[in-house]
Each structure stands twice: as C-alpha cells, then as structure tokens.
C-alpha cells in the first residue's frame, strides 16, 4: 500500500512540475483520466485524496501499530499469544478487505474519492458535486468503515494483552518503551476512531437519505437543494476529534520503536525512562484537546481559538522532553550505525525539523496566513510523514531477524537510508518557502496564477527529488524480499539486546517459547552497566547473577536484597554509596 500511495504522489508531482507537457504513457494507463497525456483536474484531486488516505491510515496506522503491536506485544511481554488470536485474525481480514475496497475505487468510472483525505462535506456529501463524490466516495466510506472495525478490534486486543498477559516479573515499569507506546496508541485509537464512525454515519445519512446534518444553503448549477439548517463545521469538529489523535496514533509507535533501537545501538540505558513514559502519557491526554487548531479559520470564536492554541503549544513540552532524551541517549554512546539506528536518528531529525514548524502553525494568528498552504504540507510531511516512516523502516530493519530468521543486507540498507533521508528533505524543505509565499495546497495548476508561476522551477526540483527518493525505495523492496529467502541466517540475539523477544528461538514455534515462559527480573535498559563483563544484561538475568554490577537503586528499597549485596560487596572489597539503610 505504501508503494501504491507513493506512486500516486509521484503521478501528481509530475503534473505539478510539468503542467504543460504531455505524457502519452499516462493516457495508455489511465485512459480518459489523462486524456492527451495530461492528468485531469478531477483525477489530480483523487490522487491527492487517496495518497493521503492510504498513507495516513493504511500505511502509517496499520503498518506501525497494526503490525508491530501484534509482533512485539506478546514477544516483549512474555505471552504465548495475543489475548484473543481470533480478534487478531478478524482485524487482519477486515484490514485486507478495506485495502481491496479502497483500491477498487480506481476501477469505477467516476473515479476514486476526491474531496481530500478529510472528506469535508458538503463536497463529499453531494454525489452530484464532483465525479469523485459518487461511487468513489461510497467505496471510500465502506473501506474506512472496515478499516476502523479492524483498528478497534485490534486495539481492544492490544490493550487487553498488555494489561493481562504479562509474564511473571514484568511490571508496568519494566515494560520496554515500545510496549508503552503501542499500548497508549491503542488507547488513543479506541477513544478516537469511534468518533469518526459517528461522523461518517451522519455523512452517510446526508448522502443517501436526504437529512441535513451537514448541509445547508447549497446551490448546484443554479438549483437550490432542499437541505437547510445543517452545519458543515460539525463534521470538522467530529472529524478532527479523530483526526488529531490520529497524528499521534501514527507517531507514537514510531517513537516507541526508535526508543528501543536507539538505546540498543547506543549501548546506553535510555535517558529518562520515566520521563519518556510520562511524556507519552502527556501526549496521549493532550492529543484529545487540541483538535481545534485545524479549524482556526472556520470562524471559530477567537477565545476558543486561544484555548486550542494554548493546549497545542503545551504539546511541545512532552515532544521536547522526548527529543532531548533521544539526544541525551545518543550523547557519548558507543554508537553502532546499523541501518535501523540510522533510521532512528533520521526520525529524531525529522521530528525536530517538522516539530519546530508546528509551533508556527499552532499559533492562531500565524495560522490565518499559513493555513492550507504548502507550509502545512511541509510541516506534517516531515513531522508525521517522514518521521513515522523512518520509525517504521527502523522497526523493519531491527526486527527483521525476528520476523524471518534472516538478516537484511546492511549496504543496501545504507543506500536506502541516504536516499530516503536526503530525498525527504529535498522534497519537503522547499515547500516551507512556497507556503510562506502563500502558495495554496491541493491546487492543480501553477500556470493559472501569476504569483505561483515563479515556483514552477521549484516544483520541477521537488518532483525530481521525489522520483529519486522513490527509486531509492527499490533498494528496500529488493532487500526485503531477497533477504527473506537468501539473507544471512540470523543468530538468536543479533543486536545483543535485552528485551524478551530475543530469548525466543530463531525458528518460530507456536507459543513463542519452547518451555516455560521466562521470568523478568529487571528493566530492559541495562546496557553498559559498570562492573558487568558484557555491555548488556537481558531482562531474564536475575540480580543474583550480576552481583558485580548491581546498584543500590536496583532493589527498589528491598532491604533483604540490599543486605545480601552489601555483604557481597564487603567480601569483595567494593564500596558503594547511597544505600537506603
């Protein structure tokens, strides 16, 4: 799906770069949607819409929390399986069907949905408004309903597994940050996706049955519609109550995966584990009270806008905590630049670059001029697009040996990383300047407006960058499939990591562990602990086996354990300070 959506974006980038050039090959494939080798305006809007929908929901939501939750939650918590394997399967097949329905909208005559991924009514509610609001929109709604069902079923399963199926000794504060992130993501998803269902149900009534929830005072081709009294803003409220948490549904799993990868490959404990968890919790809570910043220009009461502005800017606090903790973890670590680590660092970079522009957009006064310009496009593509994709790819490279028992090729991984990283910056960075100049997003043709014409050359540059970055993904595609069959055989713990999934055998077996499920004795970030002979201590190693490296705070005030440690220390002539007794 990711490659499909990327291909769509390259199609519309071609239109943006060369509005006056014919590409006969497009007509061969797209028929009347690209008559004479030029993409039609309607189809351009469809491309933008479906690119957004697939990327946000089908790639970054399902690809991050969907796949990694089902893989890592049981493995890192020491469970035989998810709480309900049946719901897991149900979730998968709902998702699969949703994908098929979404793509099938390219095969109906009126084309796919084209009202933008936010499907604002009235455009999306009136089939007669644009071709894309006909069958294509119906298919979009069906597909998204299936998708939400899939997410909800999956999310219930994740939460239930995390809270009920942890192995002995795995207290909440010993969970890896990946699990914390996936767990909180599931909570956000479960509280926000149902709201989209509510919004869509009302939209379906408006589309199919003639109600006026969102419709009022509309003329089409000079004809007044009977619908009166509806409020399109109501849809925006409901939509963004999902829409904004959705951003964090996309981002938080990526943050979780990178926390793990950065700590492992910096050979250092994650800096500020508790702060990392609390900032995730903070983001979770705040994500529900900021949706209004998408609606600053809807005629909202300025006081309300001010409230949303404050809550929005407060999100910068937990985000900054996370960023600084990442940097502090990297600081003076024994960095091992595996491809996964590079992508993790890439996430930190994109998170900073994209996050900074969020502060601009969160200010309601600035947002009036920046709203719906390329500045917004640049902002969210960096902070949730590129950053999350980096997190996802980092996860794929890191856990590939777990998934397929083989290693991915490092050299191709490096090639892939640099193409992606540099490519993303070359594509999205120039868009900031276009946005500041007031170039609006989603516009089909840059030749019709004199002030936009000067940006055509930038468009050509961006499109070439996108094509080259897109070609770079071929390295990944090849690496992924080739390594499944012919990659180097993986060892049990190829990255020398502490978490439980690396204690399972390389060959997959039902129930994950052959014998008893391992017991957990410590937190997952004991890397490079002074006094220990290796630079990592897996969670399954009890403190009694690491007498030379235990620290007073490891015992959480357990006086008996402290006494044993003190006696051992005295015997071996080691002095440690700060015992609690």
């Amino acid at each position: 799906m990711a490659f499909f959506a990327m291909f769509l974006s390259i199609l519309f980038r071609i239109q943006l770069a060369w509005p006056d050039t014919d590409f006969p090959i497009l007509e061969a494939f797209l028929g009347k949607w690209a008559e004479g080798g030029r993409i039609k305006p309607d189809f351009f809007l469809s491309l933008v819409t479906i690119h957004g929908t697939i990327m946000v929901f089908f790639v970054l939501t399902a690809g991050l929390s969907g796949t990694f939750s089902n893989l890592l939650i049981p493995l890192q918590l020491g469970a035989r399986d998810m709480a309900s394997p049946f719901m897991n399967m149900l979730s998968y097949w709902f998702f699969f069907t949703a994908c098929i329905v979404m793509i099938s909208s390219f095969f109906v005559e009126s084309g796919p949905a084209s009202a933008g991924w936010t499907i604002y009514p009235p455009l999306s509610a009136l089939p007669q408004a644009i071709p894309g609001s006909g069958t294509g929109m119906t298919l979009w709604l069906v597909s998204m309903t299936l998708f939400i069902a899939s997410q909800v079923v999956g999310g219930i399963n994740y939460i239930s597994t995390v809270l009920n199926m942890r192995t002995k000794g795995m207290s909440l504060w010993r969970m890896p940050l990946t699990i914390w992130a996936l767990f909180l993501t599931a909570i956000v998803g479960l509280l926000s996706f149902p709201v989209l269902v509510s919004a869509v149900v009302l939209l379906v009534f408006d589309r199919g049955m003639g109600t006026s929830f969102y419709l009022s005072d509309i003329y089409i081709a000079g004809q007044a519609l009977p619908n009166e009294g509806g409020s399109p803003i109501l849809f925006q409220h409901l939509f963004w109550f999902l829409g904004h948490p959705e951003v964090y549904i996309v981002l938080m799993p990526a943050l979780g995966l990178t926390s793990e990868v950065i700590a492992t490959n910096a050979r250092k404990p994650i800096f500020g584990y508790h702060a990392m968890v609390y900032s995730l919790v903070g983001i979770t809570v705040l994500s529900f009270i900021v949706w209004g910043h998408h609606m600053f220009v809807t005629g909202m009461n300025p006081f309300l806008g001010g409230v949303f502005m404050i809550t929005t800017l407060i999100i910068a606090v937990p985000s900054a905590v996370k960023t600084f903790n990442y940097l502090a973890t990297l600081w003076r670590g024994n960095l091992r630049f595996t491809p996964a680590m590079l992508f993790a660092i890439g996430l930190v970079s994109f998170f900073i670059t994209g996050g900074l522009t969020g502060i601009f957009l969160g200010n309601s006064a600035l947002d009036i001029s920046l709203h719906d310009t390329y500045f917004v496009v640049a902002h969210f593509h960096l902070v949730m697009g590129s950053a999350s994709i980096c997190g996802m790819l980092c996860g794929v490279y890191h856990w590939f040996p777990k998934m397929f028992g083989r290693m991915m090729d490092d050299k191709l991984g490096y090639l892939h990383f640099w193409f992606t990283f540099v490519g993303a910056y070359l594509v999205f960075f120039p868009m900031h300047f276009m946005g500041i100049d007031g170039v609006p997003r989603r516009y089909y043709s840059f030749t019709s407006f004199p002030f936009m014409q000067e940006w055509l050359s930038v468009n050509v540059f961006v499109t070439w960058a996108a094509i080259i970055a897109g070609l770079g993904q071929v390295a990944f595609l090849f690496n992924f499939f080739y390594s499944i069959f012919f990659g180097k055989k993986a060892t049990q713990n190829p990255w020398q990591a502490n978490t439980l999934e690396w204690t399972t055998p390389v060959e997959h077996l039902h129930g994950n562990w052959p014998g008893e499920i391992p017991t957990v004795y410590r937190w997952p970030y004991d890397y490079s602990k002074p006094g220990h002979d290796t630079d990592f201590i897996p969670q399954t190693v009890p403190f009694s086996a690491t007498m030379s490296s235990n620290l007073p705070h490891d015992f959480d005030g357990d006086t008996t354990a402290e006494k044993i440690q003190r006696d051992w220390d005295k015997e071996h002539g080691i002095e440690r300070s700060e015992y609690s007794h």
Binding site: A83, I156, I159, P194, V195, A199, L202, L234, L238, F241
Partner: protein, 197 residues
C-alpha cells in the same frame, strides 16, 4: 465469582485468557460508548448553533414503557446469570428466554415510538437536524440491542450440561455485561434527550 481452582499451568493460562477476554469486553463497551458520546456532543454543538435548532418536541410516552421493559429485562438477565452460577440449567433457560422476549418487546416499543414521532411531524429527514438526531440515537441503540439478542440466543442454545461448567458461566457473564451496558446506555440516551427537550 467463577468457582474453579486452577491447579495446573495450562489451567492458569486458560483462566488468564478468560480474564483478558472479559477485560476486552469492557474495553469494547468503552468504544461503543464513545460513538454515542460523539453524537451527544455533536447534538449539543449543533443545537447550540442557532435558536431554530433543538428538539422542540415532547418525547413520546412510549419511551417510558420501553425504559421500564429494558430495566426489567436486566433483572431477568441477572437472575439467569445467578442460575448459571448455581448450575440450574432449567431456570437459566427460562430466565434467558424471558430476557430475550423483553428485549424483543423493547425493539417493538422503540419502533412504535418513532412511528409516533413521525406522525406528529418529527421526521428523520428534517431541516432541524436536532430532531434527526433522535432517530440516530434510537436506531443505533436498537442495532446494538439486536446484536445483543443474538448474543443471548447464542448463550441460550449453547447451554449444554455435559460441557465444562465454566464455559457456560463465562458466556453468561459476558452476555450479561453487554446487556446491562445497553440498558444503562438507553437510560443515558433517554435522560440526555429528556434534558434537551
């Protein structure tokens, strides 16, 4: 509540699986509630938008009867669950049938209520969407009741004295959680609409 003493490792795993499933049920209820919460807030935001909006009608008295019916059905649901704990299959069957019958009666009463609303001019396709909201609430709730009736029928037909007791009680426990929730949900909807009429 469940009278089983887990003795082996696999029993323990089975029990923790049941516990997780019950927990999933509660999470599912939260999800369901969020859908109705979204409509409630949508209703408030919409109705506050203009003085022309709002319910502007009295709710039919049929709703009072349907509320009574569903509350009584909840009582019978509880009795059926108690009977299943005591392994009294006859009673469990009887009470379940009564619950299902009352559930069906509730569906009919709701149908009568919206027929009554429609004849008094409060129709679904309406330029005052506050009135359309009544139907959305009632229909969505009815859909859930329909699903719950199927869950209850499943619990009824799967009663088998020869099978492990715990499966029966567990099924009943989940069904009754769902049923009580829908009862409370309806009371919430009704009170919410009453407060806004």
């Amino acid at each position: 509540m469940i009278m089983v003493h887990p003795n082996s490792e696999s029993d323990k795993e089975y029990m923790s699986r049941l516990k997780a499933k019950k927990f999933s049920m509660y999470v599912f209820l939260v999800v369901t509630f969020m859908i109705f919460a979204a409509w409630s807030s949508g209703f408030i935001v919409y109705s506050a938008g203009s003085p022309d909006r709002g319910l502007k009608t009295l709710l039919p008295t049929t709703f009072i009867y349907s509320t009574l019916v569903i509350v009584i059905s909840s009582l019978f649901m509880h009795l059926a669950y108690k009977a299943s704990l005591a392994a009294n299959f006859m009673k469990q069957r009887l009470y379940l049938i009564v619950t299902i019958a009352l559930g069906c009666a509730f569906l009919v009463l709701q149908y009568l209520a919206w027929m009554h609303l429609a004849t008094s001019g409060v129709v679904f396709i309406n330029n005052n969407a506050s009135q359309s909201f009544i139907y959305v609430f009632v229909w969505a709730h009815q859909l859930h009741i329909l699903a719950a009736v199927i869950v209850l029928l499943n619990a009824l037909f799967k009663i088998d004295p020869k099978k492990a007791l715990i499966k029966n009680t567990f099924r009943m426990e989940l069904a009754s959680i769902f049923w009580h929730f829908l009862d409370i949900l309806w009371i919430y909807i009704y009170v919410f609409l009453l407060l806004n009429q």
